[in-house]
Amino acid sequence: MKNQTPKKFSKEEIDLVEMGKFYFISGKYDEAIEEFEKVVKINPKNADAYFNMGIVKEAKNDSSGAKKMYEKTLEIMPDHKTAKKHIDKLMGL
């Protein structure tokens, strides 16, 4: 999500999201999801964490799990274009 994190979220959330992203690009998908789950426990309205969980789950071929996460992202942030794009792709649209 474009430059939203620093403005809206606590330092702890930002750090955890960054750690999750680090695990993701290292191919450690399960560890990445653990970090993003910690974020949504702290702040269930953190769309960034849900979106990232969607990406990780999609990378793990868990399409239904990914779709749920993108849907949660859109519940919080209805104009999240990338989440919408990924949902459309998963739906075959």
Binding site: M1, K2, N3, T5, K21, F24, I25, G27, K28, Y29, D30, F51, N52, I55, V56, E58, A59, K60, N61, S64, K67, T82, M91, G92, L93
Partner: protein
């Protein structure tokens, strides 16, 4: 054994129901037309005359326990939407619906369809792709017994080399390619991944989480790996 229900027995619904049966899936075919039900009854596990827009009937059929339900109603937009909604209400886990047009698809998406398919459009795309850039992986029929399939790498294969998992000896399968997701972070900080295709991977190649294996082998052997 997995159970799948097919609602609506037009050309598409019949084709889906029969192909699933051939693959050993237990198929329940549903239509309001008694003649269609009689025609398909010998090709599927069970065929029933029922109105899919009646919630009570759908509940009684126990569709919530099915692996997937395919809504193949092709000529009645209202019935297709209502059926999808009822299936969602009664807790069907995987609802695949035949889309009639973009507006219909949008409504289906809103009410919770898991997958929308456009058989004619998809076939048109596949045909044009085949003509312009022959990607023959999905189209080769090796024999009635042998198949080429893309399978998600089971968790027990992850972080192991192809030599270590030894599918050739254990399952009589050959890995001819790996589809791999390459994660990256975009300039704006957003995460994403690219798909890469590794052709003829070496025995020392380490399998990663999210890999899809392109396998050649018998249907039965491929099925064993799918179930791991």
């Amino acid at each position: 054994m997995e159970q799948i229900a097919v609602i609506g027995l037009g050309t598409f619904g019949i084709s889906v129901a029969k192909e699933l049966s051939k693959k050993g899936i237990q198929v329940l075919a549903i239509d309001t037309n008694e003649q269609k039900i009689q025609e398909i009854s010998s090709s599927v596990t069970q065929a029933v005359v029922a109105d899919s827009t009646e919630e009570k009937t759908m509940r009684e059929l126990g569709l919530a326990d099915f692996g997937a339900v395919v809504v193949a109603i092709g000529d009645n937009r209202e019935a297709s939407i209502l059926t999808t909604l009822i299936l969602k209400e009664i807790g069907v886990k995987n609802i695949v619906v035949k889309g009639l047009d973009d507006l219909h698809a949008k409504v289906l998406q809103k009410i919770g369809a898991d997958k929308i398919v456009f058989p004619e459009r998809d076939m048109g795309e596949k045909l044009s792709e085949m003509l312009v850039s022959p990607n023959i992986i999905e189209k080769i029929v090796l024999s009635p017994e042998y198949n080429m399939a893309e399978v998600v790498a089971p968790q027990s294969f992850i972080d192991k080399t192809i030599k270590e998992i030894d599918v050739r000896a254990k399952y009589k399968l050959h890995i001819i390619g790996i589809k791999r997701k390459a994660p990256y972070i975009k300039d704006d900080g957003e995460t994403d991944f690219k798909e890469e295709l590794l052709i003829a991977p070496s025995a020392s190649e380490i399998l990663q989480d999210g890999d899809a294996l392109i396998l050649i082998g018998t249907y039965a052997d491929i099925d064993k790996v799918k179930k791991l």
